[in-house]
């Protein structure tokens, strides 16, 4: 669900395990989504994107799944590493003007 302010959901995983980060969106007309990683004090870093004509897209160690029926996205990170520790945001790229509407974010903590 939605989280506000400092109360971001946190996912703690052991190094080497797979991570799954979830995101829900509300606009059934949304057709383009982007996952960003944000490390402390830095700008959002592009990870992977997906358009609504796809259900799945794979990158290097990352996979994004899109379920349009329930308006849900997930980001899967394989063999999670300490360097993956960050806040992860999904963003909905609005059709007009392309402005990004960001989700609240999920903190990923990787334990060595």
């Amino acid at each position: 669900g939605e989280s506000v302010g400092l109360h971001l959901p946190t996912l703690s995983v052991q190094e080497g395990d797979n991570s799954i980060i979830n995101c829900a969106y509300s606009n059934s007309a949304s057709d383009y989504f982007i996952w960003y990683k944000q490390e402390s004090g830095k700008g959002p870093q592009f990870i992977i994107d997906i358009r609504s004509n796809m259900d799945k897209r794979q990158g290097q160690r990352v996979t994004v799944l899109l379920n349009k029926t329930v308006k849900h996205l997930s980001l899967q990170i394989a063999a999670t590493q300490p360097g993956d520790s960050a806040v992860y945001f999904c963003a909905d790229a609005m059709e007009y003007g392309n402005k990004l509407v960001f989700g609240a974010g999920t903190i990923l903590r990787v334990k060595s």
């Binding site: 982007i34 960003y36 700008g43 592009f46 790229a93 007009y96 392309n98």
Partner: protein, 113 residues
Amino acid sequence: EPEVTQTPSHQVTQMGQEVILRCVPISNHLYFYWYRQILGQKVEFLVSFYNNEISEKSEIFDDQFSVERPDGSNFTLKIRSTKLEDSAMYFCASMIRDREAQYFGPGTRLLVL
């Protein structure tokens, strides 16, 4: 790999003062954006800029804010009279063409005292 750059990295100013935040987008990109992030919160859209004019602006982007692309490389955000609540990280982003990914700069941390 091309990057969006921003200056300064940190800016401290007194309430009521003007600030200009500067960005150099990726060189062949055509769409430009400013976002802000208040500490601990999510990133919020401020304004989009394409073809030398504002495409869209949020409610946050009131008359105290303006953007400019004074030459072929820089993209600036000006806040005319800063308020305490303007304290935030400000991110510039650019996009190569319509409906592609936006790439963000490292941000400017603005503190208004």
